[in-house]
C-alpha cells in the first residue's frame, strides 16, 4: 500500500486477485442495481382496500389497458433507491467545485422548516385568511431580497434562474411597449450563460453577441457601439462567468439607459457580492436571484430551484401577477391580471399559483440563520477561497487572466496541458478517481478548454489544502507527461466513461419490457 504526503493510503484497492470477477457482479459496498421495472414482481408497497366502482361516473372514459407499472414491497423500493443514491457524488460527501453552480452546504434546518405542515401541507388556493403566515413569510423574504439588492421591487413567482430571466425580459418588453416603442435586439456578451441568449429568443427578441476583451471583461466600448434605437436591453452577468467583477458596470448601465434600453443583470453569481454590493447601486433594472445557489436551497440533482426577480422603479409596475399587497384584512394576493392595484400594469402570469414556496421557506431560514453579517461573511469567504485556489495553482495550471484577484471562482484554461496529450476532459475525469467532482469544463466559451472552479464558502482550509494538493500533483504529472492516470479516467467510479455519442445516435429514453421487443421482432 502506498501513502501520500498527508499519510493517507493512496493505493487503488488492488487487493482483489487480478483477473477474478466477483460472483455477484457487486464489489463490496458498490452494488449494481437493475431498473425498478426489472425488479417488479406483483407486490405492493402500500395497503389500500380494494374498492369496487362498478357504477362509476367516469363518462365511459375508464381505462381499458394495464399501465405496465412494476409492483414492489416497501423494503424492496427502499433498497433500490438507497443503492442508487450510493452511485452519486454530493456536496455532503465531498467538495463540489462546479463553477457557476454554487454547490454550498445545504443546512438541514432549512429542510425541517420547509416540512412544517403550515408550509408543506398548505394549499395554494386555501382561503387567504387561512394562509396569512405564508404570505407574511413571502413578504419577509421580499424585504430581504430588495434590501440586499438595493432594488425597490421583486417578482416572486419565477421557478428557476432561466424562468426569472424570462420574467425580467417580459417586464422589459412590456415597459418598452408602454412607451409605444418596438425594440427587437438584446445584447449578450459571449461569455454569458446559455440561458441568456435562449431566454432572449424565447421572449421574442433577437440576440446580438458582444465580444470579451483579452482580460476576460466584457468589451464596454464594443457594447456601447452596438447600442441604438432598436436595442431593448443588455444581459450582463456580474460578477461575470470568468469570475471577474465588471468594474465598468456603472458606465455601461448609464450608456444603456441613455440609449433608452434596460440593464438585465444575470444574478447567478450574486453569491460573490451579497451583503457587500447592491446591484441597485450599479444601475440594474432587473436581476434574478437563484435561491438554489446564493441562498442554498438544495440542487436536488437538477432542481427544483427558484428565481425571484428584483426590479427597478422603471420596471416594477410591469411585474407579473400574483402581487402581494397589504390591505385592511392583512396581506393579500392579487391574482387578477385585469384588476391590478393602482399603478400596476402586470405583463401576465409566469406560472400557476404563487411560486416556489418550499424554496422560499428554505431561503428565508438561510437568511435568518446567517443574518446580514453572515451573508456578507459568506460572500467574503467564497471569494477568499477561490483566490486561495487561484494563488495556489497558478504556478502549474494556466490562469488566462493573470494574477487575480478573482471573485468567487477561479478560471483556468488548458494551455498548461498543451503538448501533453491530456485534455481538459481527461484532467477533469482524473479528479473523479481522486474522490472529487470535476470543476465546470469548457465553460465559459471565451477561454480555450476552460476549467472553472468554485469552492464556495463551505470548505474548511484543510479541505481546500487537500484539493489543492491533488490538483497541483495532477497538473505537475500531466506537464511531466506522466499521463497514465488520465487516459480513460475515471477508473474507480461506478462507471467508466459513458458512450454519449451512441446514446444520442439511437436514443433509448424509456424502459420497454422484453415482451414488446419480441412483438417488434415478429
Amino acid at each position: 500500500m502506498t501513502m501520500n504526503n498527508q499519510g493517507r493510503p493512496s493505493g487503488a484497492g488492488e487487493a482483489f486477485p487480478a483477473g477474478i470477477a466477483t460472483i455477484s457482479g457487486d464489489r463490496g459496498l458498490d452494488h449494481e442495481e437493475p431498473l425498478i421495472f426489472e425488479l417488479g414482481h406483483g407486490a405492493s408497497g402500500v395497503d389500500f382496500p380494494d374498492v369496487k366502482v362498478a357504477d362509476d361516473r367516469l363518462g365511459g372514459m375508464r381505462r381499458k389497458d394495464r399501465i405496465g407499472l412494476p409492483g414492489l414491497s416497501e423494503p424492496e423500493v427502499v433498497r433500490h433507491y438507497v443503492r442508487l443514491s450510493r452511485m452519486n457524488y454530493a456536496i455532503d460527501s465531498g467538495l463540489y467545485p462546479l463553477g457557476s453552480c454554487t454547490m454550498k452546504h445545504n443546512p438541514r434546518l432549512n429542510e425541517k422548516m420547509a416540512r412544517l405542515p403550515g408550509f408543506g401541507d398548505l394549499h395554494p388556493l386555501a382561503p387567504q385568511s387561512a394562509t396569512q403566515g405564508a404570505l407574511e413569510l413571502i413578504s419577509q423574504l421580499m424585504n430581504w431580497l430588495t434590501t440586499l439588492t438595493g432594488m425597490p421591487a421583486v417578482a416572486m413567482s419565477p421557478k428557476a434562474g432561466a424562468h426569472g430571466e424570462l420574467c425580467g425580459l417580459l417586464a422589459i418588453r412590456a415597459a418598452i411597449a408602454s412607451r409605444g416603442e418596438t425594440r427587437k435586439r438584446i445584447l449578450v456578451p459571449e461569455s454569458a450563460h446559455g440561458t441568456n441568449p435562449a431566454t432572449a429568443a424565447f421572449a421574442g427578441f433577437t440576440v446580438d453577441e458582444v465580444p470579451a476583451k483579452p482580460n476576460g471583461h466584457v468589451d464596454a466600448e464594443a457594447l456601447k457601439a452596438k447600442l441604438g434605437p432598436d436595442v431593448a436591453a443588455i444581459m450582463l452577468t456580474n460578477p461575470n462567468t470568468c469570475g471577474l467583477f465588471e468594474g465598468e458596470v456603472k458606465e455601461i448601465a448609464d450608456a444603456v439607459h441613455a440609449a433608452g434600453a434596460y440593464f438585465y443583470c444575470d444574478g447567478a453569481n450574486f453569491n460573490a457580492i451579497a451583503g457587500k454590493v447592491r446591484p441597485g447601486d450599479l444601475g440594474v433594472d432587473a436581476m434574478h436571484i437563484n435561491l438554489h445557489k446564493t441562498f442554498s436551497t438544495p440542487h436536488g440533482g437538477g432542481g427544483p430551484g427558484a428565481g425571484p426577480v428584483v426590479l427597478s422603479e422603471r420596471l416594477a409596475p410591469f411585474a407579473p401577477i400574483p402581487l402581494l399587497v397589504v390591505d385592511g384584512k392583512g396581506l393579500r394576493l392579487i391574482e387578477d391580471v385585469k384588476a391590478p392595484p393602482q399603478g400596476a400594469k402586470p405583463f401576465g402570469r409566469m406560472c400557476a399559483f404563487h411560486g416556489q414556496m418550499g424554496m422560499f421557506v428554505r431561503a428565508l431560514t438561510y437568511m435568518l440563520s446567517h443574518g446580514r453579517d453572515g451573508v456578507r461573511q459568506a460572500s467574503e469567504d467564497a471569494v477568499l477561497s477561490a483566490n486561495y485556489i487561484l494563488a495556489s495553482l497558478k504556478d502549474v495550471m494556466s490562469a488566462p487572466f493573470g494574477e487575480g484577484p478573482c471573485m468567487h471562482e477561479a478560471l483556468f484554461d488548458d494551455s498548461f496541458l498543451e503538448g501533453t496529450g491530456v485534455t481538459t476532459l481527461d484532467f477533469a475525469k482524473a479528479m473523479i478517481d481522486e474522490g472529487y467532482h470535476p470543476m465546470t469544463m469548457y465553460f465559459p466559451l471565451v477561454v480555450h478548454g476552460a476549467m472553472l472552479i468554485e469552492p464556495t464558502e463551505s470548505e474548511s482550509k484543510a479541505s481546500l489544502d487537500c484539493f489543492i494538493h491533488v490538483l497541483h500533483t495532477l497538473a505537475t504529472e500531466a506537464r511531466a507527461k506522466q499521463t497514465e492516470r488520465f487516459a480513460g479516467a475515471p477508473h474507480l467510479a461506478p462507471r467508466r466513461r459513458l458512450d454519449e455519442t451512441a446514446a444520442a445516435r439511437k436514443p433509448v429514453l424509456r424502459y420497454k419490457p422484453p415482451q414488446s421487443f419480441k412483438e417488434a421482432a415478429e
Binding site: G71, G371, P507
Partner: protein, 447 residues
Amino acid sequence: MRYLPLTPDDRRAMLARIGAPDLDALFRDVPKAALAPLTAFDLPDTQGEMEVERTLSKLASRNVAAGAAPFFCGAGAYKHHVPSAVDHLIQRSEFLTSYTPYQPEIAQGTLQYLFEFQSQVALLTGMEVANASLYDGSTATAEAVLMAQRITKRGKAILSGGLHPHYAETVETVAGLFGPMVRGAVTPGTAEDLAALIDEETACVVVQSPDVFGLIRNLKPIAEAAHAKGALLIAVVTEVVSLGLLEPPGAQGADIVAAEGQSVGNGLNFGGPYVGLFATREKFLRQMPGRLCGETVDAEGRRGYVLTLSTREQHIRREKATSNICTNSGLCTLAFTIHLSLLGEEGLTRLARINHAKARALADRLATLPGVKVLTPAFFNEFTIELPRPAAPLVEALASKGVIAGVPASRLLPHDKSVQNLLILAATETNTDDDFAALTAALKEIL
C-alpha cells in the same frame, strides 16, 4: 457562524498565501462607491438554530394546513397521502445535495431514477417518450404550445374553457408572443364546442381532462378535428392519479401531454415546487424542451445512463435551443418516481378507485342539500356544485367554522359572473366520513 468553517487564523493564512493585505483587497475590481457598508443593510444579524426555528414555526402556525381541517381544495393541487419512505429517501444526501448529472460516471443514481421517471410518465400518459421534467404543469403546458407552434409553423392556439385559468394565463403570457391565443367558452359541467374554432392557422388545441371543473372530457373527437386541420392536440392533466383509472391521453390521440405531477409524491407546498410532466410522440422528439436521460454503455460495456440529445438545449444551442430551461424539478421527480414505485400497478389503480368512490360519495351527500346542485356528470375526484349564493364569501364563512370547503370558481375566473355561485371540490383518499359530515353540516347551517 455555524455554516462557515474558516476561522480568523485560516483567513489570515490564506490571505498571506494570496499576498493580499486584507479581504477588501480581493474586491478591488468593485468601484469603491459600490461597496456598501454592513450598516447599509437594515436586516437582522446571525441567529442560532433555535431562534430561527421559533420564528419560522410561529409563521407556519398562522396557516391552516390541509391535514388540520376537513379539507376539499383541488383545482390543480391535491392533498394525497405520501408514504413515509418517500420523504426519507429524497433526503438522502446523495440525492438532495447533488447537482444536475453532467458527470455521468458519478451520477448514475440521479440518471437511473430519471430514466425510470421518464418510463413511468410515458406509461401513465400512454405516450412514446417523456422528458426528465419541467417546472410544473402550467409551464409544461406553455412549453407544449411553443413546441406545437414550432412543429406546425403556425401561431394560433385554442385553449379550452375548461383549462385551468392559471394555465391559460401562463400560456398566453409566453406563447401569446408568437400567435393569437383563443379561449373556448366556459361551460362548467359540459364540454364546449372546440372543433368549430379550429382552422388552417391553428397550431394546437389545448384541452384539460378532467377539466378545471372536474369534468372528464373525451379527447378523441377533438384530436380528430385538430388532426383534420393539421393542428396538434395538447392534453393537460392536473391530477395524475386520475390516470390510474382513466383512459390515457395517448390512447385518445394526444400529440403532447403536459401534466402536473404534484399529486404523486409531492406535498402541497402552497403551490410549489411541483413537477411538470411532459410527454409526446417519438416523431417530435427533437422538438422537445427540457432534459432527456438516455441509456448507453460505458467503456467496459456496462449499461449506464447519460443526459442526451442536448443539442436541443440552451447550454449547447444558445438562442437556437428548444427552450431556455436549465434547472428543472429534479428532486420532485425523484419523489414522484419513488411514490409511484411504492404504489405499483395495483396500488395506483386502487388509489384511483378510492378517490373516485370518495368523490362520488361526497357529491351524493351534497346533492341532498337544499339549493345545492352538482354540475359535473362525469368526474374523477373533483366536481363542481352550484350554490344559491356567491361561493367566495361562503367559503370564507366555512373557513371560520374550521372547514376548508374548496375553491370558489370566482377565485380563478374573477370576471365571469356566470361562475360566481360555483364551488369546486375535491375528495381524495385522505378524506374521511367525518370530513364529509362536517362539510355538509356546516354548509347546511349557513345556506
